[in-house]
């Protein structure tokens, strides 16, 4: 493996200072399940690796109806997966974390790491965006909050600037009669990168959908909102004809690529199928 200098800061400020000092040569490491693989495969050659696992302030998983869900930067995917409260209140997040890699990977990987890696196919991004998640960021210039819907700027790229670190992410409490779902499409049941991922969150208002958010993963440089599909459903009942329309609209908004994993045409078709299924699943959960 390519050599690098290694630091273990014990406070957030220290981590920020190290990051600021080494600039683009430095990489933060949480679980390391993305970073170390990338270094071993020579996809990244950071001169400095800053392990944040010794920073006590970055832990903490809190979940309840009143305050919502707060996930500290060091919370592992497995901790979220095994939280009964998350499964009950945020079923789409629970579905997404169960899909990541394998149990071994989930025991090390952090959810915030999944977010900060900003892979277009990352599993938790669509449901997090659909749930209205906000990232808490600290940096040399102080703290700020950015909704995840505005966080991603390209494959592997985010709005984070030099010296900034995500300390936690926060999800608002689920609305009454809310429903959410995430469906991942891949060739295997585990250890699989999504060829398409679709997350839906909505609220039931009598027979119609409200506050519909549909987020597509792995079909554009960043996760994208299927806004046309959302509008088609807003205030309408999710009957088969409407689902079909929404699926087509989502499909039209996707911009997938052709690669060895799947053709663009197939990915686009799957956006339609998964969107229909994800809306139906989310609706089912509202009752």
């Amino acid at each position: 493996m390519h050599p690098f200098a290694y630091f273990e800061p014990t406070t957030v400020d220290e981590a920020i200072a190290l990051l600021a000092r080494h600039g683009g040569d430095a990489q933060l490491m949480a679980g390391g399940t993305d970073l170390l693989v990338e270094i071993k495969e020579s996809l990244r050659r950071p001169a400095v690796v800053i392990n944040i696992k010794k920073v006590p302030d970055l832990g903490g998983l809190a979940c309840d109806e009143a305050h919502g869900l707060r996930i500290g930067a060091l919370v592992t995917v497995r901790a979220i997966e095994t939280s009964a409260a998350v499964s009950r209140l945020y079923p789409a997040i629970a579905e997404a974390v169960r899909e990541i890699g394998s149990i071994q990977i989930r025991n090390r990987a952090t959810l915030v790491g999944n977010v900060c890696r900003a892979s277009p196919s990352a599993d938790t991004l669509p449901p997090l965006i659909a749930a209205g998640t906000v990232a808490a960021i600290s940096g040399p210039g102080g703290a700020r909050s950015v909704p995840l819907g505005e966080f991603f700027t390209g494959p592997g790229r985010t709005v984070l600037t030099a010296g900034e670190i995500v300390t936690a992410i926060a999800l608002p409490p689920p609305a009454a009669q809310a429903g959410a779902s995430y469906i991942k499409h891949g060739r295997r049941r585990a250890m699989e990168l999504a060829t398409v991922g679709v997350a839906v969150s909505l609220r039931r208002d009598g027979d119609v959908c409200r506050d519909v958010r549909i987020v597509l993963g792995a079909v554009a440089p960043t996760p994208i909102r299927a806004t046309a599909a959302e509008m088609l459903l807003e205030g309408r009942a999710p009957d088969p004809a409407r689902l079909e329309e929404a699926g087509c609209a989502a499909q039209d908004q996707s911009r997938p690529i052709d690669n060895v994993r799947a053709s663009a045409a197939y990915r686009r078709a799957m956006v339609g199928v998964l969107t229909r299924r994800a809306i139906a699943a989310a609706w089912e959960r509202t009752t």
Partner: protein
């Protein structure tokens, strides 16, 4: 006596494996060890104008760089059994021409892997591009440039293999139905757990010791000695534990030569280990290509004629191309009886990764075509496919592909048992309307037979030395390798059983070519069958010696004695006995003469059989195929170790599901660059993807040649699962696929073409099985 045959005793190798104490070639740590790496070609076909290694040599920590100018230029086989008909002599250690993207062009030894890797980037290679022939069609096109100077020409690896029996023209003339199709074959790789690795060290007397992950240590010894110009006493090959090979590790790879030469050049031990990516680039694949198959049938299902044209893609070198082509071609004479056959097999060089030996050895391909076509014929004849296969199944006395008469009714037994176990008739007859919506289910079955031993391609020989120690324990010396199948445990069981000692009292010594008897290698489903028989024969000799000595002591005739559980007993005299240890103990201070038995067994051929029954579910919106359950029925003669045999079967099914649905090593059709040389994009089914498997093993057709009637099971399980899945998919959605892997995109395209995609949201749609 409690027989140890047929008991799943604790395997010798598992404790070491689960505790991490088992030593693999890559674990060997020697003082002063250097790390070797290979610089690999980034073009598919080119002449090397020049290689500049000066910057690499100048890098601190780099100890040696080898290019084609520094290594012996000896044409070699690159494969084991060099003098058999299975392989081709067409490789150099490093050549001045590169023939595929990924071929080694130079090698570095350095103080660390990191330095070696950095050095590779400092080596510059000046390529003069040659036209890359990336498909069989390109390579066979008139006027295509020759990839090799050796061979029969026309980019053929060998002259076409032709097998003819009876009169095909007359057979087709007598047919009521002719079915014809072309089957295209994907390119799966073995994906063994342990990447290729070796460690080389020379001693002061010029003797090379190599620890290497190989299935055929004696072939490594022979080929290294030949290429390096050494007598066999100067090459010692060691292999203790192995993390699989699946056939591919029968070959000698470039790194094994280069590691030896780097160690020689530097005077220090050198380790070379493939990255996972290199196991794709520099490894061996299954032969892809195509099979055109045509069969004639009478209305009652009798097969009147069979014609086939196999074209295999060998990739850049011949490797096992000749053997695989011969075995695949001959295999189509059998499985389903047919008096009139005309079969032609070709194997073609292309500028793609090397195809080699891989579990199933050509038969995965040929029976995928044959068994799929039987289903198609059954449908057109209005017969149940299982009934058609049963009526045509080869049986006792029929000529096997090897030219031997088949013993017993193994295939028929497997089919019948599977039909019962699955309630086949009811399942196939069940109306499909209950699941004709989004997800549709179907059942299919496929059959196979496979030979234990590589006869007649190779005239093989299994050897064993059995020695009884002074305390009555036994040491078995075997040259077979333990590539992870548990074969050494089976050999110990056979030895213990024959001798009459406890299984726990038999130790196995293996993996050192300076010590153990010669062995051809662990492949061809023959270790338990062939080496097992040799163990049995050698053990019988030791037993006779023990009995002779016991007879003296007990003053009875040796014929009246037997050994059970380590105790010599006298027939008809219950009170009189002697432990084996006492029987061989020193007498008045004089030890027993050494108790050694050794024997060689030359097998001909034995066939094992299987029928796999599979249920699949097809999601008609996503095109995904799920294997829901598998019921494999195997007939393998006497079972020595049931759990190990079942393990082979389950593992083969896992690999076979991958071949059929997801695994395909692809190269860019424009430039031959590998597209998915990693486990991220080369997708094997994993634990979570495995369906329930209900394994049934029959012992109804034991073979006289095998130990206690045992036959092989290593390769069989990977063969029948493929056509069984394809046939089940047809049952589910009425679409016949004539290729593998069958991808979701292709399922959707086929359904769309058929007009069978369900209207979204709408309920069910009548099932269509008319295609």
């Amino acid at each position: 006596m409690t027989s140890v045959i047929g008991r799943s005793v604790t395997r010798w190798d598992t404790l070491g494996k689960v505790t991490g104490s088992a030593v693999y070639a890559g674990d060997v740590a020697l003082p002063g060890l250097l790390h070797g790496k290979i610089k690999r070609s980034t073009v598919a076909h080119a002449r090397i104008r020049a290689i500049d290694a000066s910057r690499a040599l100048a890098l601190p920590g780099v100890r040696a760089v080898l290019t084609h100018a520094d290594v012996p230029r000896v044409l070699h086989y690159g494969s084991p059994h060099p003098r058999s008909a299975s392989v081709t002599k067409d490789q150099y250690i490093l050549d001045t021409t590169v023939r595929y993207h990924g071929e080694g062009v130079a090698a570095v030894a350095a103080d660390s892997e990191e330095i070696a890797e950095a050095a590779l980037e400092l080596i510059t290679v000046d390529y003069e591009p040659l036209p890359a022939l990336l498909t069989v069609a390109d390579a066979l096109a008139p006027g295509a440039p020759a990839i090799h100077a050796v061979g029969p020409g026309g980019n053929l690896v060998l002259d076409p293999v032709v097998v003819t029996r009876g009169d095909v023209a007359a057979g087709f003339a007598a047919a009521d139905l002719i079915v014809e199709g072309t089957y295209t074959l994907g390119r799966p790789v073995p994906a063994y757990m342990e990447p290729n690795v070796c460690v080389c060290q020379w001693d002061a007397l010029g003797k090379l010791t190599i620890w290497t992950s190989t299935q055929s240590p004696f072939m490594v010894r022979g080929t290294l000695a030949e290429v390096l110009g050494l007598p066999l006493t100067k090459v010692r090959v060691l292999v203790d534990h192995m993390g699989g090979g699946f056939g591919a590790k029968q070959d000698l790879f470039q790194h094994e030569f280069l590691c030896a030469l780097l160690a020689q050049r530097t005077g220090r031990p050198v380790r070379m280990e493939f990255s996972r990516k290199e196991t794709f680039l520099g490894g061996r694949t299954r032969h892809s290509g195509s099979i055109r198959l045509k069969q004639g049938f009478r209305r009652d299902g009798t097969i009147t004629a069979r014609e086939a044209e196999i074209v295999f893609d060998s990739g850049a070198y011949g490797s096992h191309g000749p053997g695989v082509t011969a075995v695949a071609t001959a295999s189509l004479t059998s499985l389903y009886r047919c008096d009139n056959v005309h079969l032609v097999g070709r194997c073609v060089y292309t500028n793609t990764p090397i195809a080699g030996a891989f579990r199933g050895y050509g038969v995965v391909q040929s029976y995928y075509a044959l068994d799929s076509q039987m289903d198609e014929a059954a449908e057109q004849l209005g017969l149940d496919p299982a009934a058609l296969k049963l009526m045509n199944a080869v049986r006792d006395g029929d000529l096997a592909p090897s030219g031997h008469p088949i013993v017993g009714h193994g295939l028929e037994d497997c089919i019948r048992r599977g039909l019962e176990e699955t309630g086949w008739a009811a399942r196939r007859a069940a109306p499909k309307s209950h699941d004709t919506g989004r997800r549709r289910r179907g059942w299919g079955m496929g059959c196979e037979m496979h030979g234990s031993s590589a006869y007649p391609g190779i005239k093989e020989q299994g050897n064993a030395i059995v020695r009884m120690n002074e305390d009555g324990t036994v040491t078995l010396f075997t040259g077979t390798t333990g590539l992870g199948t548990g074969a050494h445990t089976a050999l110990a069981q056979i030895t213990a059983e024959e001798l009459g000692v406890r299984f726990e009292d038999v130790a196995v010594v293996h993996g050192d070519t300076d010590v153990v008897p010669w062995d051809i290698g662990a492949f061809a489903s023959h270790t338990t069958y062939m080496a097992g028989r040799a163990c049995q024969m050698a053990a019988a000799q030791v037993k006779a010696k023990v009995l002779a000595r016991a007879a003296d002591r007990l003053e009875v005739a040796a014929d009246d004695l037997d050994i059970r559980d380590g105790v010599v007993t006298v027939r008809g005299v219950p009170g009189l006995s002697l432990t084996v240890a006492d029987a061989i103990a020193a007498e008045r201070g004089i030890p027993a003469p050494q108790l050694v038995g050794e024997d060689s067994y030359r097998p001909t051929k034995s066939y094992s059989f299987a029928a796999h029954f599979v249920e699949v579910e097809v999601d008609t919106e996503t095109g995904q195929i799920d294997v829901v359950q598998v019921v494999p029925v195997h007939e393998i003669g006497k079972v020595i170790h049931p759990v190990a045999a079942a393990g082979q079967i389950e593992g083969g099914i896992q690999q076979g599901i991958g071949h059929t649905l997801t695994e395909d090593f692809r190269v860019d059709p424009r430039d031959g660059r590998p597209l998915n040389a990693s486990f991220v994009d080369y997708k094997m089914p994993l634990a979570m993807d495995m369906p329930p498997i209900r394994t049934i093993i029959l012992e109804t057709a034991p073979d006289e040649g095998g130990p206690f009637g045992a036959k092989g099971v290593g390769e069989d399980p990977i063969i029948a699962i493929g056509p069984a899945i394809a046939n089940a998919v047809h049952d589910a959605i009425g679409v016949r696929f004539r290729h593998y892997p069958i991808t979701p995109e292709q399922v959707l395209a086929a359904l769309a073409e058929k007009g069978a995609t369900p209207t979204p949201g709408a309920a069910d749609q009548p099932d269509q099985t008319d295609q």
